[in-house]
């Protein structure tokens, strides 16, 4: 029979190669998926992974898109990864992202058309506060009433979506917008806009911020006491208690960090690429970032690469949709495959599968413990 046993020593080779193997497996099985839909698998894979960067026709548009899409994914995933390490599962980053955008957007819109240097920083602060505020709800409920943060944070996503819809048709609606839903275009409001810093590069303040966050959080995770305590809780909760870690504090910290970063991501997205608050403002970065966090093995530098890779599948996926008319759902399945293969190859890093033909104690009805 098949048996999964822990490895004595984690295989270093596998540890490094597992994500690569996962990507290759995704290409193979994704290829079959596209084949079964009557598309040319090689062309589809090439459109997804190669053309956005290298194709002379598409890269001019795709390359900036790559960093624009990667930045929020990286920011959000960085925050989530800290909680995930400590077994604190914030699934509602999407909601915190929306709230960050709403808070910062409200500030910007309230001050329109004032021209002042402090508006943009104030909006950043608003984004952070909005995200943290939304994340504190599951955090406090967890601490006070031991509720499950997975459910609470997830349900709050839908609440946030409703508030977003309400805002875009009522209190944040553009008074000059002829009654259409949606706010003023903040990207056209200089004091509140988040423009491209280098022409045609896609790089805006948010992109820079996400790179800084990668460096800072790498350092923090390695050298700060809280980083150590987070690892401790995740790996051995009993040892964390023995060490004197204040678990409630860590819950607040992890949810606050992920909420704050998601809020900032929402703010940059709003003031830059999206421009305005509208019903369809959120496109799922908060959920995709969960995949990015695991794809990057919960390590900031891994997340940087994972965010870029995931962004590539988005941009490339759109290209494949456009060029080969592959449905969006198929692209999502493809992204799901990536997570699936990553998690399964990850299992092989820590565990080995052995075929045990010895004693037959596989009796399913056996009452052995």
């Amino acid at each position: 029979m098949l048996k999964i046993e822990p490895r004595k020593n984690r295989s270093n080779f596998l540890e490094v190669s597992a994500p690569v193997i996962a990507v290759i497996l995704t290409m193979i099985f994704g290829g079959f998926l596209f084949l079964s839909m009557g598309k040319n698998p090689f062309e589809a894979i090439k459109l997804i992974f190669w053309d956005p960067i290298m194709s002379p026709t598409f890269s001019e548009y795709s390359r900036p898109q790559l960093v624009i899409k990667a930045a929020p994914l990286i920011l959000i995933a960085l925050g989530l990864s800290f909680g995930f390490r400590a077994n604190i599962w914030n699934i509602g980053a999407e909601g915190q992202y929306i709230m960050g955008a709403l808070f910062s957007g409200s500030i910007g819109l309230a001050l329109y058309p004032l021209d002042a240097w402090f508006i943009f920083p104030l909006m950043i602060l608003g984004g952070i506060i909005g995200g943290i505020f939304w994340a504190m709800i599951p955090a406090i409920l967890k601490i006070k009433f031991n509720t499950n943060e997975i459910l609470v944070s997830l349900m709050l996503v839908y609440v946030a979506e409703q508030i977003l819809a309400l805002a875009s048709i009522s209190f944040l609606r553009n008074p000059e917008g002829l009654g259409f839903p949606g706010s003023r275009d903040l990207s056209k409001y200089p004091s509140a806009s988040n423009p491209e810093l280098i022409a045609n590069s896609g790089i805006h303040v948010g992109v820079i911020c996400s790179f800084i966050a990668v460096v800072f959080l790498t350092y923090f995770l390695t050298y700060h006491r809280l980083g150590f305590q987070i690892k401790l809780i995740g790996q051995a909760p009993k040892a964390a208690k023995f060490s004197g870690v204040n678990v409630n504090y860590i819950v607040i910290f992890c949810l606050g960090l992920s909420g704050g970063l998601a809020g900032i991501a929402g703010m940059f997205e709003l003031t830059g690429p999206a421009g305005l608050i509208n019903i369809d403002f959120n496109v799922g970065y908060g959920f995709t970032a969960i995949i990015v966090a695991f794809l990057g093995r919960l390590h900031p530098i891994g997340i940087l690469f994972a965010g870029l890779l995931m962004s590539l599948t988005y941009v490339g996926g759109e290209l494949a949709q456009f060029m080969l008319s592959i449905p969006a759902a198929a692209i999502q399945v493809f992204q799901g495959m990536l997570l699936f293969f990553l998690l399964s190859t990850d299992l092989l890093v820590s565990y080995k599968i052995s075929f045990n033909l010895g004693i037959n104690n596989s009796n399913p009805k056996s009452k052995s413990e």
Binding site: R225, Q235, A236, K238, A239, F242, N360, K367
Partner: protein, 501 residues
């Protein structure tokens, strides 16, 4: 019923685990129609032996004979089909299902529903196991649940039934009901192997007892004919090497425990009841008793991991009841819990990182929240050197160390911090003899420097060797302290088995 004779004969069974020899050529004869006790402290090898009989564990060597035929169960199902049944200490029942459904799920062969119901009713009325089949298991008491397990076992018509500490979850009334059932079963010719460490119970229903200690059978006797004291002596062992007692140079009182009580929220937790104890500088107090009697809770209450529901703690006349783990540690109250991997140390972290768990503040391994790994590594190197930990170095992962070496490291991590009070649970559990004696020496040296020490251990020889004062922790209650050098084996045995109120 059938003529007296041996139904199961066990010959020279041995089973060795990496750190311990669980069974060392154990031989045992189980007779027809008898309730036979298997006695011993935790870790004596009872469970291993029983698992071997039930086919869950393969012995390294030795043979078993069932009705004079060689018996070599391939697994529990095979054991059951050959007539060996077992009732576990913890039940494996589905709360949401009815009694009948639970019984059906536990059977190896599927029978017609009516036929099965008839069988169940026959069995239950024959042995007085009253139970109603339609009830939902979730609403039943522990005694009723146990009856389901017994019925499940009896439906297979076993010749031998093994019962693992069956009374540990029962109320006194349920216990006497169970005994009636067991007596009926044995009258009808079934042999029962009854595992327990409760002496009075065994004296009530068993006519033969096999006493195990440290993986060996030390005595076979009739428990109804010899005294509980004598049995207890056999369980804990009489082979006392009169310990070399250093003169007690008790210093001032350093820890005072007043009426300490703890009510666990977890249903399987052990409550601590009104515990009082005084510890002096330079004194070693040994806390004996079988594990699962509140040892872990006691240590956690002192370390600050658990908050007492009542009572107070004083350290050098200062009330520390409300202090948390880190504050207590900063005062010099250090502890080393029993469970090495996962509690005292993190398996997947390096020894350097493991230093941070308890030594971060006291040894200044961090500055303004930032960890200095160089200092931490130095500390780890020093621990490795001081305790002679055999490892690849401070970068080695905790789980790569053998049990004994990790234990040395975990204890060394506290010793090197110059504790004022040191509390340790099972300091030499699973550690080889040489390492054990080096750990004990370290503890003695620490006491010589004036540290007050509490050693919690199941190893009575160890406690007699190093402790000045002895208490037994049984059922969450602490016996009054007695000078170790005035203890005799029978007194010790009684303290541990708590036959003396």
């Amino acid at each position: 019923m059938s003529d007296k004779g041996t139904i199961l004969k066990i010959k020279d069974i041995s089973k060795e685990y990496p750190s311990v020899k669980a069974n060392d050529s154990v031989s045992l004869d189980l007779e027809y129609g008898k309730i036979q006790a298997l006695l011993g402290e935790n870790g004596a090898g009872k469970s291993t032996l029983v698992k071997i009989i039930y086919g869950l564990v393969k012995p390294d060597s030795g043979r078993m004979y069932l009705n004079d035929m060689e018996y070599r169960p391939k697994g529990p199902q095979d054991a059951r089909s050959k007539g060996v049944g077992m009732v576990f200490q913890h039940f494996s029942l589905f709360d949401a299902l009815s009694v009948f459904e639970n019984i059906v799920l536990g059977l190896d062969n599927i029978l017609e529903k009516k036929e099965l119901q008839k069988q169940i009713i026959d069995v239950s009325s024959e042995y007085g196991l009253s139970i109603s089949l339609d009830k939902i298991v979730g609403n039943l008491s522990a005694g009723e649940r146990q009856r389901i397990e017994i019925i499940r076992c009896l439906l297979l018509n076993p010749k031998i039934m093994i019962m693992d500490e069956p009374t540990s979850v029962l109320t006194p009334g349920e216990v006497s009901d169970l005994f009636l059932v067991l007596k009926k079963l044995s009258k009808s010719g079934m042999s029962i192997l009854y595992i327990s460490h409760k002496l009075e119970e065994i004296r009530t229903i068993c006519t033969k007892a096999t006493i195990m200690r440290r993986g060996r059978v030390v005595k076979n006797c009739d428990p109804q004919k010899i005294s509980a004291t004598k049995i207890a002596e056999e369980m804990v062992g009489t082979s006392f090497s009169s310990p070399k007692k250093s003169k007690i140079k008790k210093g001032k009182e350093c820890l005072q425990i007043n009426n300490l009580s703890f009510q666990p929220s977890d249903p399987f937790g052990i409550p601590i009841k009104n515990l009082n104890l005084k510890l002096h500088h330079g004194e070693i107090i040994g806390i004996g008793g079988v594990a699962g009697n509140g040892q872990e809770e006691f240590l956690s209450l002192l370390s600050g991991e658990l908050k007492p529901s009542n009572g107070s703690l004083f350290f050098n006349d200062e009330d520390i009841t409300k202090l948390n783990v880190v504050e207590r540690r900063n005062k010099g109250i250090l502890s080393a819990p029993e469970e090495r991997l996962g509690h005292a140390a993190v398996p997947a972290m390096s020894l350097t990182e493991n230093c941070l768990i308890t030594a971060e503040h006291r040894m200044k391994l961090s500055k303004r929240g930032l960890i200095d790994y160089t200092i931490s590594k130095n500390l780890s190197d020093r621990i490795i050197k001081k305790l002679d930990v055999r490892t690849g170095g401070s970068d080695a992962l905790a789980r790569s160390l053998s049990g004994g070496n990790l234990q040395k490291f975990v204890i060394g991590r506290e010793l090197i911090q110059n504790p004022k009070i040191f509390i340790v649970n099972q300091p030499t559990w699973g550690v080889d003899a040489a390492a054990a004696s080096s750990i004990r020496q370290q503890i003695l040296d620490l006491a010589k420097e004036g540290t007050g020490i509490i050693v919690i251990s199941q190893d009575l020889d160890e406690l007699l060797e190093i402790s000045d004062v002895f208490c037994a922790l049984v059922g969450g209650q602490l016996s009054s302290p007695e000078m170790t050098n005035e203890l005799n084996p029978s007194r010790l045995g009684m303290l541990i088995s708590n036959s003396i109120e």
